[in-house]
């Protein structure tokens, strides 16, 4: 399987933001001529799985390993990450009602991030074109698609309306759907996965001001989980990405990683004697 390596582009704060939200939007990173060439290709290959586009060097170089895309993937999946081997096109004739909320099949729960589900708009996707709607933080909330069919509006969702050439990276298990569209255009949305091939490590761009003991692990949005569960989940995912799962432990109570104006820091930081109470 083909792999790729390049310098990471995300820093600690951006990696943690990805852990919190479960997605990262890179607006307009693919050049206009490549977007048009992609649209021409999709017009000539109007299938739901135009996988052979991955064999096109112009597409590989300018979309799949575009430096800002590949740099973000490298930051999250480590060096020599696996390149996509399957391409899907969510090609929709607008207008359409909103799709059912769902997590994609074979979603797994937990802090690990061994692959990324990535989406690419080769054309502008305004609200009228039914952009993908995501529920921030929901990659850490269990559900099954068949029990989500009656969900409608949800507080705090993010509609990925974006200019042509935008790419967004997601945790595979995030809740999402195609939002309702009112336009009349044919919308293309390519979807593909990248894969981890090396153990996780904190080898992205280090931010000197980032202190994992003090940083705010809260998700900015409506609370859908038990109080402070978002802090626990986000800290656990960040530690997994750092390759420090073995030392991660939650002591509960008012200990790390909940926010607060603690005198002299909080108890329970991983690796410290106050952390373990087994």
């Amino acid at each position: 399987m083909p792999t790729y390596d390049c310098p990471p582009t995300l820093n600690d704060t951006q990696v943690l933001e990805f852990c919190k939200n479960g997605f990262l939007m890179l607006p307009g990173v693919v050049r206009a001529e490549i977007n048009q060439r992609t649209l021409d290709y999709l017009e000539a290959h109007p299938t739901g799985e135009p996988t052979d586009i991955l064999l096109e060097d112009w597409f590989l170089q300018n979309v799949i390993v575009e430096p800002r895309v590949a740099g973000a993937v490298r930051s999250l999946l480590g060096p020599n990450f696996g390149l996509p081997t399957l391409m899907s096109n969510h090609r929709v004739q607008c207008p359409q009602p909103a799709q059912q909320w769902h997590r994609d099949g074979r979603s797994q729960m937990g802090p690990s991030l061994n692959y990324l589900q990535v989406f690419y708009y080769p054309q502008e996707c305004p609200l009228e074109s039914g952009p993908t709607e995501l529920l921030p933080g929901s990659h850490q909330i269990f559900n099954q698609a068949k029990y989500m069919a009656h969900f409608g509006q949800i507080r705090g969702t993010y509609k990925a309306a974006a200019p042509a050439g935008s790419v967004f990276l997601t945790v595979y298990s995030i809740w999402h759907r195609r939002s309702a569209s009112t336009g009349t255009e044919l919308r293309n949305l390519l979807k593909f996965n990248y894969w981890r091939t090396t153990p996780p490590a904190r080898d992205w761009l280090e931010d000197p001001a980032f202190d994992p003991r003090l940083v705010d692990y809260r998700l900015d949005g409506p609370a859908l989980r038990e109080q402070f569960k978002d802090c626990d989940d986000n800290a656990q995912m960040y530690y997994w990405l750092c390759g420090r799962s073995s030392e991660f432990h939650l002591m509960g109570g008012q200990g790390w990683p909940i926010p607060g104006r603690f005198l002299g820091g909080s108890y329970g930081y991983p690796g410290e004697v106050t952390n373990r109470r087994d």
Binding site: H150, F151, G152, P222, R225, E226
Partner: protein, 120 residues
């Protein structure tokens, strides 16, 4: 009102005039009238806790046989709490599944779901 329900009402009135109205006949006519044109509306409200005054985090509804998501902007949703919906005549027909909420520390679903109904 459909024709069969209207016919039953006419029949009851005629039976009453003729002095032959029975209890069964009256009940049948009332039942036909009640079910002839009423439809069940459903309101799904996902709340942040089991309290009826907790803020609603998600909604959808079925009104007059149509699935309606409601406005995209949460501040424009018809009800911000379950209690507000109850005050507007909705009846709770399903309370959040308490047994599921007590499964360890796992996080399941989208808040505490109330299902309400109205007949229209």
């Amino acid at each position: 009102m459909d024709n069969s329900a209207a016919n039953k009402i006419d029949q009851v009135v005629e039976d009453f005039r003729q002095g032959r109205l029975t209890e069964d006949g009256l009940r049948q006519a009332l039942e036909a009238q009640q079910t002839s044109h009423q439809r069940q509306d459903l309101l799904y409200l996902q709340a942040s806790s089991t309290s009826v005054v907790a803020s609603v985090v998600g909604m959808s509804m079925i009104c007059a046989g149509e699935v309606i998501e409601g406005p995209a902007a949460p501040e424009k949703w018809p009800y911000q709490t379950v209690l507000a919906a109850i005050r507007d005549g909705w009846r709770v027909i399903k309370f959040p599944e308490l047994a599921l909420l007590l499964i360890g520390e796992g996080t399941v679903g989208l808040g505490c779901e109330f299902i309400l109904e109205k007949w229209s």
